[in-house]
Each structure stands twice: as C-alpha cells, then as structure tokens.
Symmetry: C2
Subunit: 206 residues, 2 copies
DNA sequence: TAGATTGTTAATCGATTAACAATC
DNA sequence: TAGATTGTTAATCGATTAACAATC
C-alpha cells in the first residue's frame, strides 16, 4: 500500500505541513480548504485533494479541513510524531550554520552529534556539542541506532564519508556536497546545492 | 523557441554541468556518452539525449560527447558565460556560511553585497564585505542592476524583504526562509529548506 | 569495416486537471 | 435549505523510455 504512493506526492507533504503550521500560528481560522491551501502554495486544489486522498479522508464536504487535525495526520504519515536524532558530518561553515540553526526544533529533528576529521576542529564546542573525531563515527551510529545524517564536507570527501555512513546503518542523508553520491537503493539521499538552484534560474535571465 | 523548453529539463542541466566538471577534473577521458553520464547521475541515457536535443546536436555517433565542448555549450545555454553578481540579504548564521562559501567561485556567481537590519551586525566584515543597512538595499540593486538575490532572513521577515527585492528589480531569488513566497510571474524563486528535505525522507523510515 | 552511440520518433508511462455526485 | 467543498473518476496533459536508422 505505502510503497505505491508516488515519491513526488511524498515530496509535497512537508510543504503542506509547513503551510498548515503557519496557518495555525496565524490563527485566523480553525479550518482551511484545498482551494485556500492551493492558492498559498501555487498548487491546484485538485492536486491537493488527490495527494491527500492517497492516505485517507481528512476533510468534510462544505467546510474543508480542520487545520490542526490535518497537521497531525500529515505529521504521522511522515513519521514526524517522534524526534529523529541527526548526526552532522562536517564542522566547516555550513556545518556550523546547521549546528546553530533553530529551525530543526519542533519540526521533528535534532542534531545531536557533530563530527570532523580536522584536528583543529575536534574538541570545539558548537551550540553545546563537542566536535568529535571521525574515527568514532561508525561506532556511534551503530550504538545509538542513528538513521539520519547531514553531510557537510567537501566534495572530495563526500563519497567516502557516505560509504562510511551507509555501512554504519544510516538510511537518510541530506548532502551539502556538490556531487552526486552513489548509495544502495534502500538509502535515501537528498541534495542541497545553492549553485545548482541559482544556475537553474539564470537560464531565464538575459 | 526557448520558452517551450520544460523547466524540468532546465533543472537537470546544472546537474549535467556539475558532472562534466568532475569528469574534466578527473581527466580520464576527453569524451563521455549519454550512457556514461546517465550511470553517474542515475538518469537514463535516453533522457539525457532527449534533454540535450532541445538545444542542439552536441555529440557524435560512435564517440559520444566531448566533455569540454558540452560543458561550454551548457554554460552558454544557462547564461553562465558571465559572472552574476549576487546580493545576500541576511547576515545570520546561514548568511555567514554563504558569505564564506567557496563554491560560488567559478560556477558563475559572486556574492558582492550583504545586508541586514540588525544594528549589531551592520558594519561587520564578512569575507571582505561590510554588512550594510537594509535602508540602502533598493538603491543599490537599481544602481548596480543586480538581478540575483539570496534571502537568508527569518520567515517572519521573508515576504516583506521579497517585496522589496522584487520592487527594486531582482528577478531570481534563492530563499532559505521556510515559507512560500508570493512573487509576480516574471520573478523566479527557488527554495532551500533542509527540514523539508529531511521530512521527505523520514516517510520511508520506520 | 565493425562496433558504438547519437538524435529522433513513437509508444508508454505517470502526473495533473476538470468535472461532478455526494454530502456537510 | 442553499452554498460550499470534499473525494474520486475519467480525460488530458506532459514526461520518460524504447527502439532504431543514421553515421562516426
């Protein structure tokens, strides 16, 4: 059942979740509709209804969706009704920004450990965490059962670090390295490369 | 002609460009093939050939594509045969990481100006640039003809800053704020939200 | 030449949208 | 009730893939 839901649908759920958070915070209404949500996100109302229909019936004809209820349902669908501990690999400037980023709180994730192989960084404090030596990374992942990693190392080191993470049992990797990573099919990787995003837009510029 | 090329195709070109850079750096061969490129990127060879065929004929039957030639062609298609000056709005930890990020160099972009509205940050040096007051942002964009902006401000300030950027003439925005921005159709926006990326993957975790 | 690979066409596959009965 | 909006079906739209003639 779950396996046949298109990944592109899964990819929109966090966007819906985020919009619902804002709506709840605004507190203008207890309910929303597919039309209202779609207008905010630039998505058709039909698509939103179709997406949600993969998982159940969350709305009421005539009134739409209860914001808090739909929010909770999406949280459960995405397995965010628990906090995922995250290991951060790389204590450079990107790693630093991530270590101090407040946005993980209350959205299902917490960076708990930071690793680097640079002796000048090891032992440093970053937002209450001590940068640890890569040599004990695999052991920690196994012992703590960590499944989620953020990779913020230079491109040249990314694949070898990925192999290490995968071997230790990591199943989801968010990579900031500007390179495509090879992983086995059961491991999910998402990429963040600001330059790729910018390059995609300059096509439309003169 | 250009207008009818799907945006999803445009979105893959920077990925191809990045892979070609690595291939050129490795220097193992002067040529590649759609099959070779596809294997590296997890994309079918047919799709790569189809994508490229929107823009011209860059290969040779029997031998494939000259890496440097294809690289140059893609650079031109994406308008990266010039350096785009970028204005960075927000000098917090994300802004700081971006200001010091070396990855923009040689990939078509340079952050030239940093703005913030926090008096404690204004005047600070960041990688050779002085953080400037938001009050002179619009004037600078107009005077310098800046078209590309990176937005790294809190969600609460993102829409009002976007409105300011758009009004001043910015046409491409890369936003790190975890919120959907409303912009006129001629302005392109891309988003980077690490939490959204992570949330998309936890669906597949137990 | 023989083998390899392109560019392109047609077929397939999948995603989005329009429309509407059901019903709150 | 009348108006609004859901969930779903069928139609449309668009993207991917398979296949192959052309040709290096």
């Amino acid at each position: 059942m779950a396996g046949d839901i298109p990944d592109i649908v899964i990819g929109r759920l966090p966007i819906y979740l985020r919009a619902l958070t804002h709506m709840a915070a605004e507190g203008e209404s207890l309910t929303t509709s597919s039309h209202d949500l779609g207008r905010r996100l630039g998505i058709s109302s039909a698509q939103i209804r179709k997406d949600l229909s993969h998982f159940g019936e969350f709305g009421k004809q005539g009134t739409g969706y209860n914001i808090n209820y739909l929010f909770e349902q999406l949280r459960q669908i995405l397995h965010l009704d628990q906090e995922w501990p995250v290991v951060l690999v790389g204590a450079g400037s990107i790693g630093h920004a991530l270590a101090y980023y407040q946005g993980f709180k209350h959205r299902g994730f917490e960076i708990r450990w930071i690793f680097d192989n640079d002796p000048s960084k090891i032992g440093q404090d970053m937002n209450g965490m001590i940068v640890q030596d890569m040599s004990i990374l695999a052991e920690l992942i196994v012992d703590e059962g960590v499944q989620v990693a953020i990779l913020a190392v230079p491109a040249a080191a990314a694949q070898q670090n990925t192999d290490l993470l995968v071997k230790a049992g990591i199943r989801s990797i968010l990579s900031y390295a500007p390179i495509n990573l090879a992983v086995p099919p059961e491991v999910h990787v998402r990429y963040t490369d600001p330059v790729v995003q910018l390059q995609r837009m300059t096509y439309y510029l003169d």
